[in-house]
Symmetry: D4
Subunit: 159 residues, 8 copies
Amino acid sequence: MAKFKLDEVDHQILDMLIENTRTPFTDIAKKLLISAGTVHVRVKKMEEAGIIEGSSLTLDYKKLGYSFIAYVGIYLQNTSQTKFVLERINEIPYVTVAHITTGKFNIFCKVRAKDTNHAKEIIFQLDDIDGVYRTETMISLEESINDKKRLMHSIFQEL
Amino acid sequence: MAKFKLDEVDHQILDMLIENTRTPFTDIAKKLLISAGTVHVRVKKMEEAGIIEGSSLTLDYKKLGYSFIAYVGIYLQNTSQTKFVLERINEIPYVTVAHITTGKFNIFCKVRAKDTNHAKEIIFQLDDIDGVYRTETMISLEESINDKKRLMHSIFQEL
Amino acid sequence: MAKFKLDEVDHQILDMLIENTRTPFTDIAKKLLISAGTVHVRVKKMEEAGIIEGSSLTLDYKKLGYSFIAYVGIYLQNTSQTKFVLERINEIPYVTVAHITTGKFNIFCKVRAKDTNHAKEIIFQLDDIDGVYRTETMISLEESINDKKRLMHSIFQEL
Amino acid sequence: MAKFKLDEVDHQILDMLIENTRTPFTDIAKKLLISAGTVHVRVKKMEEAGIIEGSSLTLDYKKLGYSFIAYVGIYLQNTSQTKFVLERINEIPYVTVAHITTGKFNIFCKVRAKDTNHAKEIIFQLDDIDGVYRTETMISLEESINDKKRLMHSIFQEL
Amino acid sequence: MAKFKLDEVDHQILDMLIENTRTPFTDIAKKLLISAGTVHVRVKKMEEAGIIEGSSLTLDYKKLGYSFIAYVGIYLQNTSQTKFVLERINEIPYVTVAHITTGKFNIFCKVRAKDTNHAKEIIFQLDDIDGVYRTETMISLEESINDKKRLMHSIFQEL
Amino acid sequence: MAKFKLDEVDHQILDMLIENTRTPFTDIAKKLLISAGTVHVRVKKMEEAGIIEGSSLTLDYKKLGYSFIAYVGIYLQNTSQTKFVLERINEIPYVTVAHITTGKFNIFCKVRAKDTNHAKEIIFQLDDIDGVYRTETMISLEESINDKKRLMHSIFQEL
Amino acid sequence: MAKFKLDEVDHQILDMLIENTRTPFTDIAKKLLISAGTVHVRVKKMEEAGIIEGSSLTLDYKKLGYSFIAYVGIYLQNTSQTKFVLERINEIPYVTVAHITTGKFNIFCKVRAKDTNHAKEIIFQLDDIDGVYRTETMISLEESINDKKRLMHSIFQEL
Amino acid sequence: MAKFKLDEVDHQILDMLIENTRTPFTDIAKKLLISAGTVHVRVKKMEEAGIIEGSSLTLDYKKLGYSFIAYVGIYLQNTSQTKFVLERINEIPYVTVAHITTGKFNIFCKVRAKDTNHAKEIIFQLDDIDGVYRTETMISLEESINDKKRLMHSIFQEL
């Protein structure tokens, strides 16, 4: 599949929005010595091309009472159930990430919970989905790095 | 530690910003029947309290040429090296998440790479950090869910 | 949930009872320069608050012919059976501890038995509970530490 | 080694003390239709023979702020270090039980902590003992059974 | 259970028969300065007590075309099937040893076969027994020690 | 390497000696309608060819106080140490069998001990051999089959 | 089974054809100082004896768009299904090698795919074969050696 | 990187050579209704582009006395040694394939040997390479599929 071509200006716009998605387009325009309209057109184009899928807040989950993070590996009875099980998982809001993986697990999830007891309930919900054979949990003692911005800057520098 | 108290209005503001961080405060104000100034004050207060840590774009990594995701489990020679190793990991932009974990790994990372070969280079970089004893990699065949918004909405509903 | 507040006197009473639950209240009173009635009231209050759940003897199991200790990890067919299986386990007196756990086991038990043969019978009883999928056993070659008193003293010192 | 012989009266005394170590000897005497002096002599004899090692309180750790339980498996660099490492472990009051085991671990411990963060600190302390090669942690989601009394009653019934 | 008491003469008789079961009783008698009749009586007594269960040849399996040794771990669907499965295993002459074990396997076997292909057939026979869930095989590259005599001599020296 | 050729008479002689190594040659001769001298010559020939390596007693280890059986898997630091480590193992009489194996262990041993405590000592002796990196133990709950005679009969029938 | 006897001339012919199967027989003849007819007869004889099974091209899979290699371990529900499952596997052209193995897998395959997504589809096809219980995948980051020629030369030198 | 473009004629030529690399170009030409010169040019072009890397014989290893196949997983002390270790492995002709892999092994090899004893020697050679930490071996009981031709035909059909 042909990749969308981003030019130097696109990179610089993205590089600024990554740091703060609310940066006014006029500020970006001033810095890049282009018109605010151009910024608007470029961002729109990148949204339409699906490069920019949206924006989201970075919240402090600990302060919101969600300090417990677990990774849950799921074994299915049969991989033909993968799609069905992922739909069930998608109904559990505490699962923020889910992958189909190689290795010993069929599906691998990241779960955010309030505490041990809440985590137990979520794990039991996952375990009780039809087609789920067993789960195995690894608990995070500290989320030391969670930062996509370094990656994004790196991508735009090398493009 | 005492938790910051969010009221109903804060929740509704967050609930709207989560969907689109660029939503103009005037739009939020109109919907909630409050003044734009109030929205501004509330957001500022939540930023100062550290609840809102920032905002970021959601980009389509595949379209940017980064379609390869791996989870890498790291065994340290000794946990006294944890802090040092995490600092070295933090210098590798392709590692977007890193946890100190229970179970068989000491540190567990998420890596985004361009392809198999690029993943190999990153894994070798991790392996070569002083104090890293061994690594074990699990490759994602598909990132089926990556969505914090469901969680955030769920948190604000139950608060 | 609000924690019950223990004061310095409570701590000192607990600290003495931990060492010997049969210590006469008059002895405790004398040492703390308070009345025996006060000791009585305090202990009663801590019992009613559920802080003190009871007392028990520390017996030498080896001398009673129970020198064999095993840890048994249990895999369930489905975690919806957890409650039912724990009730069945609870009928086997040789299982002194049972946890719902993360990691590879669903339930993790401590078993005291007379010898290898007795352990085999108990493990078979566990294996034969409906809903138990498999068990895995780790045998203790020596119980080197079994002492909650150090922990209790430590708790009361830091409170 | 010759086992100490307990008779029916000893069993009945133990059976009552197990339920409540503070049961007055006069109550036990009345129930068993013997003199309080006999109860005293028998208990003394069992203490001297090492059958009764002591008594301890059963506290509600959750109410004391210690709701986090983990099992930690320890790999040593060499088993000749077992004794030394156990002495170091014995200095950490949060480790309430430690076994020398067969299977993949050399030493297997039970840890009680305040929360995830406290558990991390204790695990790091264990990891940093000289001679400890690696540790592997399994976290309890619920302590469903912790009861030696059923075992004790069972022992005295079958003796 | 009371152990049969062997005296010094019994030990010396056993010590000689262990080396060569065909040693004439007259030779043993001469060496121990007792009568051949005494040797006969002692051996008979040890046979009746079940200490001596029989005698067997030590053959060179390699020279007989059986140079392939494998250890096969068996997982059962349920341990209630243990007795039944062991009876089926007992019908396969190539399985020379079978244990009920702790750890990950339910039953652990030693198999002697002619070659890789023959081993495959035997493993398939084990796999196809009703109640056998899975098997896992470890192949011997060299049988470096197979010698009960050192143990026997050691036992008789320390008795 | 050319295999020694056994004929029908050899098979029948072996088949009888396997059951009881002390069967008098005259009894064998009578049964096979040959002379005792022929039996003698044949046995001698099979001994010289190394087919018959010797004979040994089958003792009841439980009655001799050795009821504890463990399998110990040994990891070496480096396989160049295999020969040296096997020589050290050979000095421990409680190790009755040792194999160089494929799979996760370098060397795999069978140990007979008196009890848990004795097993611990033997395992520690193995652990302390220079070049031994780690050991992993699996304990036998019951030796259900230990019988080479079925195999031997089977070999002689098919030859 | 009696092995076909290759002489020195056969070895030299094979040694040359291994390097380039298209080497004209006249070139081989010239080099070995024999007639082209002899070469032809020898090759024919080795083909009829089944020593030479055929010839194949060595293509650069990367250049053909197949740069993704995975090893897939397959667990069967029961080994009686081995033959059936292998026939199904044989219908998937992307599986280039399949073995019946000892150890934890029943069948072990090598898969060549275009990319992660293609690999996922092939793994799902394997997973969905009747009788396949689970699969576990290991991904190649680099095929560093793939060369049978060194082995062939070595075989012909030592014969 | 730009892929070399093969047209329909190239595919058909490859499709025929795959089945028999010695097919005369005149036969191919006749079948495809082109000139032998064209076949020659096309093949030459594909060789120069590196698509065709060479050709090799398919020999029956069993008939050559090499019936033992093992897969050996290698753990390195450090991945910085990967290149060095692969060079050492490359000197052992019995290793026909070697991959750098994800998952628990650093390097994964395929080994062809004469028998168990020969395999042991090769495994020891691998184990003794500087930088190799440990190896783990899985033995093939049967090579059921080894066929790249199905894949090649499949590739040319879909191109």
